[in-house]
């Protein structure tokens, strides 16, 4: 025992492990010893021959390939179907830490839904001067068509995926994804693969379940259905096989036992929505849509969309069908609005934000722009409307020329940018070939809201597989890991939770 804590990383797989205390390490403390909730896992991995680990990794990758767990990368010239990279070592999070995070996430989503209701009705928060009107009404994701529309349970956002990062100061929200967040199927597929690869270790580790996500999602969608409908018909609306998240759409539809429809399967007649079945037309009551606002209805929104359903929005406004998430939620996950979320929480709930915000500078403000330009080598600068890691500058990692080009773009259109300090993102052990190295990670838990709020313990843990990289997006060389929320026994040996 003393041996292992004195030289915890002497095992072959950990020989090249870089203990750099600049970054919070998910498995080791600053002295290089495994954290208590990771100790058992560490011991097991330490005693596993590196080749066995490599084989687990290969088996997991192969099973992903066979199951078709792939995503599509859009390049300039060609699109490629790739296996979603998975790292077989889970990221382990302590149960009590998670509980704090979960409370913070619930608070955040509750406030954001109240915010959305407000800005599509009276707009008190704007009149009270808490947030500038142009940030809301001038936002390209603000949907004037949504004004006055009543949304069941006030749940504009019923499915939310929030990106969390951890530093030495604890968890922080990197961004909210309130439109059509994806990734939950990868969370479930990772869990399934890991359970098959390390069943005994998994069982021993007292990991909280995530498998009930699909059931919770179905319950959430059911509770959104118009109350007069006895046995609501629910569908998942996908852009189709060429969408990068098609695997996920099919996966969720299968898990929930609902139809996976495309725009061409639906039609609107007399403000009711129908799907074409082999037995004729059947009315649809709830649409879990995985198509962006712009494309859902060519009559109301973009008229060049071939993915959507003409007349869908009218059926929605008439209350004949429910669309989840509601159109127009993008205004609340805007990167500029992000800076106001602590104030939004305070305004509606009278509470302090439970999860620490990342200090955000708005380049639309004169001092903000000056500060950002002067500190470009230290900051992360993001385009307000972009997502998926596109349109972003990581100052410390960028070349002089890249920074110069970005500075020019910034001066050109400062309203479109925000900046944040470069965070020392936490790292977790990852298998690289046959040895283990630390890589930067984040975590995207999924929060469901209708009558109540549900969060499955864990989320999609994304990894920047490139050494030193901070970008975890799958389109930019990121992969994923299973995230284990574990309940550790108390120090005296009594379990924190008993099996009953």
């Amino acid at each position: 025992m003393t041996n292992t804590s004195a030289q915890p990383t002497a095992a072959p797989a950990f020989r090249q492990y870089d203990h750099n205390s600049t970054f919070y390490d998910e498995m080791f403390d600053d002295g290089g010893s495994p954290r208590r909730h990771c100790a058992d896992f560490f011991e097991t991995i330490r005693e596993t021959p590196p080749d066995d680990l490599r084989q687990i990794q290969e088996r997991v990758t192969r099973s992903f390939l066979h199951e078709g767990i792939t995503f599509t990368v859009y390049g300039d010239e060609q699109t490629i179907e790739r296996v979603f990279p998975i790292d077989c070592l889970p990221r382990i999070v302590r149960g009590d830490e998670w509980d704090d995070v979960a409370r913070g996430l619930e608070q955040r989503l509750r406030a954001l839904n109240l915010f959305l209701h407000d800005i599509y009705h009276q707009g008190h928060i704007i009149r009270d001067g808490v947030i500038p009107a142009e940030l809301v009404y001038g936002n390209k994701h603000y949907r004037i068509e949504m004004r006055g529309v009543e949304v069941p349970h006030g749940a504009y956002v019923s499915v939310c995926g929030t990106d969390l990062v951890r530093t030495h100061d604890g968890f922080a929200v990197l961004e909210d994804n309130l439109r059509v967040p994806s990734g939950v199927s990868y969370m479930l597929a990772c869990r399934d693969a890991i359970k098959r690869s390390m069943p005994r270790l998994f069982r021993r580790s007292r990991v909280r379940d995530v498998e009930h996500y699909s059931r919770l999602l179905l319950e959430t969608l059911l509770s959104l259905a118009p109350p007069q409908v006895g046995d609501p018909s629910i569908v998942l609306l996908t852009p189709g096989v060429y969408n990068s998240a098609y695997y996920e759409h099919a996966f969720l539809a299968r898990q929930m036992g609902i139809e996976l429809v495309e725009g061409r399967d639906l039609l609107v007649h007399n403000r009711r929505v129908y799907m074409r079945t082999t037995g004729g037309l059947r009315q649809v009551d709830v649409i879990y849509r995985r198509i962006d606002d712009d494309f859902i209805d060519p009559v109301t929104f973009r008229d060049d969309s071939v993915l959507g359903v003409p007349g869908l929005f009218h059926a929605y406004r008439a209350g004949r069908v429910v669309i989840a998430n509601a159109p127009g939620t993008g205004v609340a996950d805007d990167k500029a609005v992000y800076a106001y979320v602590p104030r939004i929480i305070k305004y509606y709930l009278g509470e302090e934000s439970l999860i620490k915000p990342i200090p955000t500078t708005l380049c639309r403000e004169r001092e903000g722009l000056a500060y950002t330009l002067a500190n470009l080598d230290k900051l992360v600068v993001k385009m307000v409307g972009e997502s998926g890691g596109y349109g972003m500058l990581v100052g410390p990692h960028a070349s002089k020329t890249e920074r110069k080009e970005f500075a020019a773009a910034l001066r050109e259109d400062p309203d479109n940018y925000i900046s944040q300090p470069t965070l020392a993102l936490s790292r977790a052990p990852c298998l690289v070939g046959s040895h283990i190295e630390p890589r930067h990670v984040d975590l995207r838990p999924f929060i469901l809201q209708s009558e109540r709020t549900e969060i499955v313990p864990g989320g999609l843990c994304r990894v920047a597989l490139k050494k030193g990289s901070l970008v975890v997006n799958s389109s930019q060389g990121g992969g994923s890991k299973d995230a284990w929320i574990v309940d550790v026994p108390e120090a005296d040996g009594t379990p924190a939770e008993t099996d009953g």
Binding site: L65, H66, E67, G68, G240, V241, Y246, A250, F251, A253, R254, I258, E259, L260, V261, E262, R264, D265, L267, H269, Y274, M275, R276, T277, T278, G279, G280, L281, R282, Q283
Partner: protein, 324 residues
Amino acid sequence: MLARVADNLYWMSRYLERSDQTIRLLGVQVRSVTDNTSAQVAAGWTRLFHSLKVTPPGGDPLYGDQHEDPFLLADAYTLADFMSFEQDNPGSMVSLWAMSRENARQARQEITQEMWSQLNRTYLSLRDTQLHFFWNKEPENFYKETSAQIYLFRGVTDNGLRHGLAWDFIRLGRFMERIQVTTEILENYLPALDDEDTDLDWSLLLRSCASFEPYCRHYTPEIDPWKVMTFLIHEPESPHTLRFAAEEIRNGLGRIDPAGGARHPLQAAHRIAGQLRALLVYGSQDREDLGGTLAEVRRLARGLHDELYRRYIFYPADQALPGR
């Protein structure tokens, strides 16, 4: 079930059946090299391309007077490669698998994980295979093993998927394709039936239709051309005969849409399926009617396909509005 998805399942199944037929014909052709004369092998390639309605690479010498072209035989490798792995040939085995998989991908919510995995896994391995890996070793075994992957897929389907609408459309696709390809194969053997001088090996036809063993059980291993023909058309219990397929199609339609009787007028699709079955059960088995029977089977099968689409897939929306 969504109409579009029924369409996907139907085609997933048709492409897979066509691939099964193609693989079997290739296996027979490869086997023929060890068993038969050069002329027989060359004639076999002609029948193969004609039956599958594929134009061989480099144009269409097979349709002219160049039956004896020695290059055809010498170039068996090219022909086999073209029908197995050429991605630009929509009729090649690998293209058919790709189409089947693409259709399955769009019907993921209706098929099981095991079905998808079996289809996907086999496709990926075929995509990464090349003819020269096995051509000089044991080509027949390669085709047999690939066939086995299709049988595995069907086993997984029959034992894992609910025998509901999706299963019915999958079966419909399989037997619609089977009836069509088998008819083409039989029509290509017709001329030899009346040719007294032919040295044609009629066991090749039985093998092409996966019916060698059923035939031997029914008759004897003594191969009689006329018996082979009538067996493949009218025998009710062997899964690769025309009659068997017609019975399956009619029963499948009955499950999908239990029409008929006084209250529901008979659908056009049901009517054609009934005619097809009647032709193969009660139709003439005289020698001079054989060509006409096969032509009629082909016509009815095509009409049935159109009616299926009119009824279940591309129906006009205004006629299908429900109360709720």
